[in-house]
């Protein structure tokens, strides 16, 4: 090789190789990290990626998923042009059409349903990513439908509800404020949110003490935990309330703090006094010594953080369990001080940056006041009261029953039916509707059921405003031109809004105008940020102290006894106290002796979108369930053997990964695979009555070797 060939081969940027580095961002996972990416570009094509040095969240690094951005962007099944269905729904038969034809067909389809059944009969749905959510939300409202619903019906919003019910605000852990003890409860940040994982490592390096509580033995448990506690899945509420009792009995509760800032302590105390260590050992499987050690660690530390994760709320008893865990912070006065939990609020597109925008107003000012109640209102009133979106887990039921009114069309961006329990039901629903429009990057199963399919582009191909903690604002420029005929999601929404002839000139005016409208009070020149190409730090206004005014709860205090929940005590059987309730989908059953856990993260996937990225798939080629070596031995199952997982509603075939990741009696399966979709076998009535969230993590099941049963 000549020297130049060697440089080109090694992808060294410079004029001689014609390789240029452009800043962009990764939009594969949640809005948490949204890491800065340096795209190496030659002849308009991305040839390599790496993390942007100095970027607020990732500072040069990337996670497994982000490192695969090149193959993700260039996935073979990218949708190339707008398409119109020519065969039956689900057949995959489509013809290519122009953007004008597509947008006109969408407008005609949606307006037709609106004329026949009312605007509410159209559900505006989205999955990942999240950057366009305020725009889709406004589109739904301007159209006249309150039925904006997202994948957050299954992911993060239940946790937010729990914080707001209890603390009147979302709270974040001030890990680097160096609490004496950090309890990561169902937290696996080393895999699920690596910037937080780096904080865990930094905390440990400075001498911090970590407790991890998780039914799965995660890398975080292995690498960070000084004490690793493994309760049986779904028993966290019992464990937390027992710890609360021990803290109170030993005089470790912070009574001054409670007197000043806490509502409902007496009722809470009476409730937790019903929890015994003996019963806790029986229910949770945690040894008595560990339960007492945990109570002492939390109770006697000068400062402690009890940090829950979304995972805790992904149970049929999720919201009360989550609340039981976070009540421990208030019980010990570990609130609003360095090294405890501190308030936080979302700035823009689900990201907290320390300043406020007019995003909420952008959505709420278009709310259709005369519309019929949004989906899920009757069944999940707490969700409906607290969140300005419909609860998606009630969608299929409303379509089936037509009550309280029919749902006849879906307008979708990035919808993945495999996030829905008994997922095929959503496709059957789509097959029955009067009209379905789907926008996506890739040819998903859901797209095959749409009448009109529209191609979106990735974060590398568009401009986007993003905010980051510490007061950073970024406004990216496209690193490459949109592939094929794709457009960015918001451009598609603007065109659809225009074609629908909505009286919403702002939304029709496009992304840049709308963002500047939402940022009009923020002291930042967005054009200058965009030209600069990297995040700009802006001064954040000082927010008033958390306790300087009554909290945003009915009592104005931290509510161990939730007055908001109390409203639904009689009508819906919700308990204002964070009691432990059984979270299984069905009674004990010898035919289904094991417990299925899903949804916990693995490093190389997020939901379905990365399963077809060859680099990532090569790290774990087969859908595989983690089975404890003891169970595997008993059932004569070896590493890589094919096994069936069976629940009361179905069966899938996967491979066995024999590992102590799972406790004996529990089997853990990652979700989102097309050939082995574990959410297909989770019963769709297995929902948390408080939040409507699916009980992803506690379903009775049977594991058997595939050869045994033909």
């Amino acid at each position: 090789m000549s020297e130049l060939e060697q440089l080109v081969h090694a992808k060294i940027p410079g004029p001689e190789t014609g390789i240029e580095v452009r800043h962009t961002m990764c939009d594969i996972c949640t809005p948490g990290p949204q890491c800065g990416v340096d795209a190496y570009i030659k002849d308009g094509v991305v040839i390599k990626v790496e993390g942007t040095a100095g970027f607020p969240t990732n500072n040069g690094a990337l996670c497994t998923k982000g490192a695969a951005n090149r193959q993700y962007i260039y996935r073979k099944d990218r949708i190339r042009t707008p398409m119109r269905r020519t065969g039956p729904r689900g057949s995959g038969k489509f013809e290519s059409i122009s953007w004008d034809e597509a947008v006109a067909a969408v407008a005609m389809g949606l307006n037709g349903v609106k004329a026949r059944h009312g605007a509410e009969a159209v559900a505006f749905m989205t999955g990942y990513p999240k950057w366009y959510r305020p725009f889709l939300h406004r589109l739904a409202y301007s159209f006249g439908s309150p039925n904006y619903l997202t994948e957050s019906s299954t992911c993060h919003r239940s946790e937010v509800m729990s914080w707001q019910l209890t603390y009147g605000s979302e709270m974040r852990p001030d890990v680097l404020g160096m609490p004496e003890v950090l309890v990561g409860w169902a937290c696996n940040p080393l895999v699920s949110a690596y910037p937080m994982g780096r904080n865990y490592y930094q905390y440990k390096e400075k001498g911090g003490r970590v407790v991890i509580i998780d039914p799965r033995r995660t890398p975080t448990a292995v690498q960070c935990a000084d004490l690793y506690i493994r309760p049986r899945v779904g028993t966290d509420g019992y464990l937390a309330n027992t710890v609360a009792r021990l803290i109170i009995e030993n005089g470790w509760a912070d009574m001054d703090f409670i007197q000043k800032h806490v509502h409902g302590f007496a009722a809470y105390r009476d409730m937790v006094m019903g929890y015994t260590v003996e019963e806790a050992v029986r229910i949770t499987g945690v040894p008595e010594g560990e339960i007492r050690e945990l109570a002492q660690l939390i109770g006697t530390a000068k400062t402690a953080i009890i940090q829950p994760s979304n995972g805790l709320s992904h149970h049929a008893n999720g919201l009360p369990s989550h609340r039981a865990v976070i009540c421990l912070n208030a019980l010990t006065g570990n609130v609003n001080k360095p090294g405890t939990i501190v308030p936080t609020f979302e700035t823009f597109a689900d990201m907290a940056a320390g300043f406020r925008t007019r995003e909420d107003e952008f959505v709420e000012e278009r709310f259709p006041r005369n519309a019929r109640p949004k989906i899920g209102s009757a069944r999940f009133p707490l969700w409906s009261e607290m969140l300005p979106e419909a609860q998606g887990m009630d969608l299929v039921r409303q379509w089936e029953k037509g009550e309280p009114y029919p749902i006849r069309a879906i307008y979708a961006h990035g919808v993945n039916n495999r996030m829905y329990l008994e997922s095929s039901r959503l496709l059957e629903m789509a097959a029955d509707l009067d009209f379905v429009a789907a926008t996506d990057l890739f040819w998903t199963d859901f797209c095959r059921y749409a009448d009109i399919v529209m191609p979106a582009c990735t974060s590398f191909e568009r401009s986007e405003v993003k905010c980051y903690g510490g007061g950073f604002v970024n406004y990216t420029s496209p690193a490459i031109a949109p592939l094929y005929e794709s457009l960015d999601d918001v451009e598609i929404m603007s065109r659809v809004a225009s074609a629908l002839a909505l009286d919403d000139p702002l939304l029709c005016s496009g992304y840049d105008t709308c963002v500047k409208h939402m940022f009009r009070d923020v002291d930042v020149d967005l054009d200058a940020v965009k030209a600069g190409g990297v995040p700009l730090k802006i001064p954040c206004p000082k927010t008033p102290d958390y306790f300087s005014a009554p909290l945003d709860t009915p009592s104005g205090k931290i509510e161990l006894y939730s007055e908001r929940i109390a409203k639904y005590e009689h009508s819906h059987g919700l308990n204002p106290l964070p009691v432990f309730v059984d979270g299984y989908d069905s009674p004990e059953n010898g035919e289904l002796p094991m417990t299925l856990i899903t949804g916990g993260r693995i490093p190389n996937a997020v939901h379905s979108r990365l399963h077809d990225v060859p680099w990532l798939r090569s790290l774990r080629p087969d859908p595989a369930a983690d089975l404890n070596p003891e169970d595997a031995k008993r059932m004569e199952i070896g590493q890589g053997d094919e096994i069936y997982l069976t629940t009361r509603v179905g069966r899938i075939k996967v491979k066995a990964n024999v590992s102590a990741i799972s406790a004996p009696g529990e089997v853990n399966m990652y979700h989102g695979y097309s050939e082995a979709n574990v959410n297909q076998i989770i019963p769709r009535d297995h929902l948390d009555p408080y939040s409507g969230f699916p009980g992803f993590k506690q379903v009775r099941c049977r594991v058997e070797k595939a050869e045994v049963r033909k």
Partner: protein
């Protein structure tokens, strides 16, 4: 300036970001049958909650006395005197796999033409002051490239602690 790849097993979680970054850097296509130059492993023993686990990332070790260099009959492999990396020119490779048989770590891979390919330490990047792709991507700084000259007494102490840590965990296994 000679270098050493260093893996801090207290920080590695076997996530595979290094393996993916390596595939991106070197255009390795596993779906076409290419072998990855770098791979991660999770090694565990036992079934209890505190049973020992180790996460590892492995590629060419760039041995000082590299058996692959000695094993190659076509003279394709050599030690780079500046960096200490084991580098290659596959022009004359006859695809005999002698290097792979000589290597205790199975580092040499073979491309679709049957010729040897492997980790070259991202030598062109390192020569220009950039980090190898696997090191640059590592979310936890577990994988590092350190200069041999500074890999001295301080590092020796760190390594000793690391070894002790592993040995102590080993004891715990024995007692279970």
């Amino acid at each position: 300036m000679s270098y050493i790849f260093l893996l801090d097993t207290r920080k590695c979680i076997g996530c595979g970001a290094c393996a993916v970054a390596c595939m991106d850097q070197n255009d390795v296509q596993p779906q076409e049958g290419d072998e990855p130059f770098r791979q991660c492993f999770v090694i565990e023993q036992g079934s209890g909650k505190d049973a020992p686990v180790r996460y590892l990332s492995m590629a060419c070790m760039h041995c000082a006395q590299a058996p692959c260099v000695q094993g190659c009959p076509a003279g394709c492999l050599k030690k780079d005197t500046d960096t200490g990396f084991t580098v290659y020119d596959q022009t004359n490779c006859i695809g005999c796999h002698s290097c792979a048989m000589a290597c205790p770590f199975a580092a040499p891979c073979f491309d679709r033409a049957g010729k040897m390919v492997k980790c070259d330490g991202c030598i062109e990047r390192v020569r220009r002051g950039m980090q190898p792709a696997c090191v640059r991507v590592c979310p936890y700084g577990a994988l590092q490239l350190v200069e041999k000259e500074t890999f001295g007494a301080g590092q020796r102490g760190k390594s000793a602690r690391l070894l002790a840590y592993t040995a102590l965990d080993g004891e715990r296994t024995d007692s279970e």
